[in-house]
């Protein structure tokens, strides 16, 4: 009784060892078994033969593409065992089959492929049971199919003349590998299940718990050779199909590495070799004729075999199945990324250097592919977050750092991008593009002029080494100075920066005479310092280089308006509009010019047309587009990138341009306040990026201004109200309200509005000027003088402020100073454009 019981336990123990590949224990178990006489010796022979062969292979693994070994003493021994078992024929049929399979494998190892095939012909592999058979036998069958495939590939065809037979043979080989792969996956799933049960059953026993399973040559071949052949034959459709089959099988610990590789390879193929139109999703049948396959070889697209049992695949309800090649590539890459990220070696001790490099390479390949996939779809926000995850193992790795910086930049996360770019500069100090990218961000919406200056100087200091980027460096520093000049509150500082900017632009222009930007900014800088004729010369030059540059055309129009050639200016604006019909900044200038040239009615028509254009442009923009910046913070602030592309002046201050430091602060306050205010009233449309709404508000304000010019207070008030419903706390809106009040004769109300506007934007020159005038009317001269002097400090070229200041001084009896002011005003007025030159955006 006890003997039988222990006998069956012995059998299970043997089975377990065979399943888990613990060949070293077999000999001992066989000894116990023969001692108990529960079975004949033949089974022992089979087991010993198998164990010795496996042990040999474990110690001398076969490498892919290596040549056969030939007879070895150990293998002789194996053969002796197997021949003994086979010759006597006392074994149960399934053990006989096993013995033949081991024998065939031995033949393969020794290089006798014909004999191996001969052995397989005795066993009908297809009839071996997959259902209910012990786990180790699954592995045997899988290996047998793989070995058979290998042998078939090696043994030449009997009659190579028949090409049709050849195709059949190819098909047979592929089928062998595919079956082998399927059964191997099944085996690995089963063995893992058995192991996890085993751990629990034997949990009190301290034995070797984590037995790392390895695939070995035959299973590895079985799993991979089929798709390798498909791709070699140019049959992408079936190769992709095979990849998908392997990936859909539920993963096991042993297949993890294989899955990483295959997922990445499939993603590569999806990104490199397929397109939207040639794609079919994993649950669909592949197309019959695909451009992906070479026409010469025509093999069936579907597999032509069935197995009684297949590996488990991921299943359940609501499984996500990709519908597009980028989707599938992304899914695969996200899976690979999570694994690559997890396996990335973090330790930096020298012993692990190799490991670290290997893991870094495989991870960075995954990140590159992710970049390609997400870049195609414009998902820079998500990309930047993915790359951020790579940072923990990207120490001193320039490529990953730079890619992160670029993705942050593309996602509009400027401040962080600059920080990362700094690190990139440290890693690659000789590359001039990096500091230039940083300057671009700094002089953009960040308005970090000090930092920008530093970065630009790095490029300039590179000298000749910066090559073509040297001119760009001077351009960059010129822009920084130009913006600083606008910000500066002291006249001397302003002039100094203007001079520096001018010389930088000149340098840039001489270094790169065909660059229209250099010439254009030179012209703009001259215009800002009111050297109108010189500026005209350069802007014409810029237009010769780049005939349809919108900013050059705009500057030309403004310069003409400064010379009081309003009709010519309007012509230029109309010409520009024929090329840029939806450019609002040009349209605003047009409204101003039309009021002067053709009367306010025309200007009002233009405003109406602007509203229509606005509607056609932004009604279309779908709401989900605004969600591109999926981050909450990013959604809250205006979509900067679009803002740059649209070249829109900051709504907060159309008069002094988008670039004044205080106006940026004001616009932020304004945004925040307006959001709070309008969240109380539900009517205001608040979805989507902010700037279309800014544009709309600005259109209404322009219309209001035209109405004020016509003396129509009610209409002006209505227009202002429209703008106020969008941005109730905007100083521009408040200013306009003040103007309407003034028109109605409510001086006190107007004063109140102006004061509110100034509390939001303390440097809004127009408001200061109007407030000064009101105070003048109220005979509060010294306060009026103070405010107007402040206004002149902020913008020394505002001639109407000088004029008002003159009036106040005159009223105070300071005639000498008043005369000076009037003269200045007169002089400035002669060169004053219809709108300040600084409304033209300055960006790299």
């Amino acid at each position: 009784m006890t003997a039988r019981k222990s006998g069956s336990r012995l059998e299970t123990e043997i089975e377990r060892c065979r399943s888990e590949g613990q060949w070293d224990k077999i000999a001992e178990l066989v000894r116990q078994m023969s001692a108990k006489l529960i079975s004949n010796d033949d089974l022992g022979e089979l087991l010993l033969g198998e164990a010795k062969l496996q042990q040999y292979l474990k110690e001398n693994p076969i490498k892919q593409g290596s040549s056969p070994r030939g007879p070895r003493p150990v293998l002789q021994e194996v053969r002796k065992h197997l021949t003994a078992a086979l010759d006597r024929g006392n074994l149960k049929p399934e053990y006989m089959q096993e013995a033949s399979l081991v024998m065939a494998k031995l033949c393969y190892v020794e290089g006798d492929y014909g004999e191996a095939l001969n052995q397989y012909s005795r066993v009908n592999l297809d009839e071996m049971q997959l259902v209910g058979s012990p786990v180790y036998r699954l592995s045997m069958i899988a290996e047998a199919y793989a070995t058979k495939g290998l042998c078939l590939e090696k043994v030449p065809m009997a009659s190579p003349s028949l090409s049709n037979r050849n195709a059949d043979r190819d098909q047979e080989i592929i089928t062998c590998y595919e079956k082998s792969g399927d059964i191997a996956l099944l085996y690995l799933q089963e063995v893992e299940k058995a192991l996890s049960v085993g751990i629990q059953n034997r949990s009190p026993k301290p034995g070797p718990v984590t037995q790392e399973q390895e695939l070995g040559f035959f299973l590895e071949t079985g799993l991979q050779r089929a798709h390798v052949i498909h791709f070699k034959n140019g049959n992408l459709t079936r190769g992709v199909g095979r990849f998908r089959e392997i990936l859909r099988a539920v993963e096991t610990r042993t297949t993890q590495n294989l899955r990483i590789t295959i997922a990445r390879q499939l993603a590569e193929i999806l990104l490199r070799g397929m397109c939207e139109q040639s794609y079919w999703n994993p649950l669909e049948d592949p197309p019959h004729h695909s451009p992906l396959d070479e026409l010469l070889r025509h093999s069936p697209h579907t597999k032509d075999y069935a197995l009684s049992r297949r590996p488990r695949i991921y299943s359940g309800e609501n499984l996500f199945c990709p519908q597009e090649n980028t989707e599938e590539a992304l899914l695969l890459l996200l899976i690979s990324e999570s694994m690559a990220n997890r396996d990335a070696v973090l330790s930096r001790i020298p012993e692990h250097n190799n490991d670290r490099i290997i893991s870094l390479q495989s991870a960075s390949l995954v990140y590159d592919l992710l970049t390609i996939a997400l870049g195609r779809r414009g998902q820079y926000e998500m990309l930047s977050e993915c790359l951020e995850r790579a940072m923990k193992f990207a120490f001193e790795e320039f490529h990953l750092w730079f890619q992160l910086a670029l993705s942050l930049m593309a996602a509009g996360k400027s401040a962080r991008a600059v920080k990362v770019l700094k690190e990139c500069m440290r890693l690659k100090p000789e590359d001039p593009t990096i500091p230039l990218l940083a300057v671009k961000l700094c002089i953009g919406n960040l308005h970090w002029l000090e930092e920008g200056e530093r970065f630009a100087k790095i490029v300039i200091d590179m000298g000749e080494k910066a090559a073509e980027f040297r001119a760009k460096g001077y351009l960059a520093i010129g822009l920084v100075y130009s913006l600083k000049a606008t910000d500066a509150s002291l006249r001397g500082m302003q002039e100094e920066y203007q001079k520096k900017a001018l010389s930088a632009f000149q340098r840039a222009q001489s270094l790169s005479p065909t660059d229209h930007l250099a010439v254009f900014y030179l012209a703009l800088q001259l215009a800002v310092s009111r050297q109108i004729p010189e500026a005209l010369g350069y802007v014409r030059q810029a237009l010769q280089l780049q005939g349809d540059d919108v900013h050059s055309l705009h500057l030309l129009a403004l310069l003409l308006s400064a010379q009081k050639h309003y009709h010519d200016a309007l012509n230029i604006i109309e010409m520009a509009l024929s090329e840029y019909p939806e450019n609002f900044i040009i349209l605003f200038t047009k409204v101003k010019l039309e009021t002067l040239c053709r009367g306010p009615e025309e200007a009002l028509l233009s405003c109406k047309r602007m509203l229509q254009i606005w509607k056609s442009c932004y009604n279309l923009t779908n709401p989900s587009d605004s969600g591109r910046g999926s981050s909450l913070l990013d959604r809250a602030v205006a979509d900067r990138r679009q803002l740059n592309a649209m070249t829109l002046p900051d709504f907060s201050d159309p008069e002094t341009g988008s670039v004044h430091a205080t106006s940026i602060a004001a616009s932020r306050v304004e945004q925040a306040l307006s959001e709070v205010a309008s969240s109380l009233q539900s009517s205001a449309p608040k979805q989507g990026p902010l700037h279309p709404w800014m544009t709309l508000a600005q259109i209404w304000l322009h219309a209001a201004e035209v109405y004020i010019g016509m003396g129509k207070a009610a209409e002006a008030a209505a227009c202002t109200q429209e703008a106020a419903s969008l941005f109730p706390m905007s100083h521009n809106v408040l200013f306009m309200k003040g103007q309407v009040a003034e028109l109605r004769g409510n001086v006190d109300e107007a004063k109140r509005w102006y004061e509110e506007a100034l509390s939001i934007s303390p440097t809004h020159v127009k408001t200061m000027q109007r407030l000064g005038l009101i105070l003048h009317q109220l005979q509060r001269y010294s306060l009026a003088e103070k405010i107007l002097r402040d206004a002149v400090q902020v913008n020394s070229t505002a001639h109407d402020v000088w004029n008002s200041l003159g009036e106040v001084l005159q009223a105070q009896g300071n005639d000498a100073a008043a005369t000076e002011c009037f003269l200045t005003a007169l002089e400035l007025e002669a060169s004053c454009p219809i709108l300040p030159f600084t409304i033209i955006p300055r960006a790299l």
């Binding site: 299940k193 192991l195 629990q200 949990s203 718990v209 390895e214 390798v228 610990r253 042993t254 297949t255 294989l258 490199r272 070799g273 397109c275 139109q277 695909s290 992906l292 991921y314 299943s315 609501n318 996500f320 990709p322 519908q323 996200l334 899976i335 999570s338 990220n341 997890r342 396996d343 973090l346 330790s347 490991d355 290997i358 590159d368 970049t371 390609i372 870049g375 998902q379 998500m382 977050e385 193992f393 490529h399 670029l406 593309a410 593009t433 980027f469 280089l545 780049q546 919108v550 024929s578 090329e579 442009c617 779908n622 989900s624 587009d625 969600g627 999926s630 909450l632 913070l633 790299l844």
Partner: protein, 505 residues
């Protein structure tokens, strides 16, 4: 242009006109047999002054309008050449004679921006999320994800628009030029597998020329066409790069890498982050790959058998291996009760691996970290697992797996929730630990929160039909805010379980 080419083109022009409706499909199939036609048409497009240009453009448009995919692809293969022809004429400010090419390009654009019913087409795609089960993975086996703002926002599958809707365009202006051309390239890229090698070559040429004309590199490349600079946009370059990438991997290694270099050169000069990003990635991803220039024009995508054994030695420190590691802190001496902390980390690890049923190491790590003794919770977890595995065995034996699997899933889910509440308990218990411990506690707490968040949303995903999750990004933002507040999550948890159970039983 030789008389023979002339003849071929004229024949092509005339035969389609007389073609009956029914024969269009077979005609489309026969087009690829006309070997000399495509080169002859390229010549017509390149020679701007050919009198055949107008009828050819007209017929190409007719092909496109026919709706027959093969005819559309026939037209599409000339797109790079047409774009270059148009751009070079515009740059040369030579207003006459590009009219018909402009009309053809705009015609294709206007056809492509609307769907069959004449509605504006919006091209969108789903961003996969690892927290949702897919045909290739199970969320539980992935482990924890980083709790970034974006990860939370994209927690569900979100559908994003990547192109469209677009306005109908009657004429090209400087403002809409690249918008239209970018969209046309997008259409071209969607059909890349179908275009011929000559078309890919033409695309590479287009890319190089657009990017270098007027720049010093033009001399290096010895291109003597127009010499004025062409304005480009970053999006346009990204589309060019996509096409170049395909060309690079499908037989045009030399032309393709030159084109990629030229585009990157220009992107650097223009400081375009998007184009630099994608271009750098392609360059670096092809760096190691062995691309063989296949002169027979064969697709040169190849794979090899790779060893599956882990290539990384087991004792190297990886993100995975230090996940369970508790960092020693200098001021950790007076930590209130270290036991509670280990318990948290223990349950924490259990959660993320227990559903994978893998004999993975995390549990063993946990056991050793808690000093060899199994706590009550640990035991509970193990029994939970074994019962589930028995289920799996049964399923394997019976063969009818669906039902049992579902039950197992339900059980796994309720286990998760059970553990969740356990965690919450330990968490609240350990929150009473005073001062210095609180810093590390908050760290643990956030980790716990991230996991529990995953689990809860997994439950949500199973319980609700997927359509709810494919919400527009707008709503997604709101929904995720809801998830974000722990209080809300707490409230929502039990109702979702019940929904789930009823739907399954």
């Amino acid at each position: 242009m030789s008389a023979m080419d002339h003849g071929v083109v004229e024949e092509w022009l005339s035969e389609f006109k007389t073609l009956p409706e029914t024969a269009v499909s077979s005609y489309a199939a026969s087009l690829k047999d006309k070997g000399s036609l495509v080169p002859a048409l390229y010549k017509v497009i390149r020679e701007n002054y050919s009198d055949l240009l107008e009828p050819v453009c007209h017929q190409l448009f007719e092909f496109y309008r026919s709706g027959e995919p093969r005819l559309q692809r026939f037209t599409l293969q000339f797109l790079p050449e047409l774009v270059w022809s148009y751009l070079s004429v515009t740059a040369a400010r030579d207003p006459h004679c590009s009219g018909c090419i402009e009309a053809l390009l705009l015609g294709i654009y206007n056809l492509e921006i609307v769907d069959k019913d004449g509605q504006s087409k919006v091209l969108s795609f789903t961003i996969p999320s690892l927290s949702k089960p897919s045909i290739y993975h199970e969320p539980s086996s992935i482990g924890s994800l980083a709790l970034t703002e974006g990860a939370l926002a994209n927690h569900g599958l979100s559908r994003v628009v990547y192109s469209g809707p677009h306005l109908q365009r009657e004429t090209f202006t400087a403002q809409n030029r690249f918008e239209v051309l970018t969209f046309l390239l997008l259409c071209y890229n969607a059909a890349l597998s179908y275009v011929s090698i000559s078309s890919l070559q033409s695309l590479c040429q287009l890319s190089s020329r657009v990017c270098i004309c007027g720049y010093p590199r033009q001399q290096v490349r010895r291109y003597k066409g127009i010499s004025s600079r062409l304005m480009v946009t970053s999006e346009f370059l990204v589309q060019l790069i996509t096409g170049i990438h395909f060309a690079l991997c499908n037989g045009e290694l030399e032309l393709g890498s030159r084109a990629l270099d030229d585009v990157l050169y220009r992107a650097q000069l223009e400081l375009f982050p998007e184009a630099l990003l994608v271009g750098n990635a392609i360059k670096s991803s092809l760096h190691g790959a062995s691309l063989k220039a296949n002169k027979e024009g064969a697709r040169s995508i190849q794979v090899e058998i790779t060893p599956t054994a882990p290539r990384i030695s087991r004792n190297a420190v990886t993100s995975l291996s230090i996940r369970g590691h508790r960092w020693k802190r200098h001021d950790a001496v007076d930590l209130g009760s270290p036991d509670e902390l280990t318990e948290i980390s223990e349950v924490d690890e259990g959660i993320c691996t227990q559903a994978s049923a893998a004999p993975s190491s995390p549990p063993t790590i946990v056991i050793s970290s808690s000093g060899g003794k199994l706590s009550g919770k640990g035991l509970r977890r193990l029994t939970g697992r074994s019962s589930r595995d028995k289920d799996k065995d049964k399923e394997a034996a019976s063969g009818s797996d669906q039902l049992t699997r579902k039950q197992a899933a339900v059980r796994a889910m309720s286990e998760n929730l059970e553990l969740l509440s356990l965690k919450r308990l330990t968490l609240t218990a350990s929150q009473s630990v005073p001062k210095s411990g609180s810093l590390s506690l908050s760290r643990t707490a956030s980790a716990v929160f991230s996991r529990s968040f995953e689990q809860v949303s997994n439950v949500l995903a199973v319980a609700s039909p997927s359509s709810n999750h494919v919400a527009e990004a707008d709503h997604g933002g709101v929904a995720y805010l809801e998830h974000l507040s722990p209080a809300h999550q707490h409230r929502q948890r039990s109702p979702t379980i019940s929904v789930h159970v009823t739907s399954d039983l």
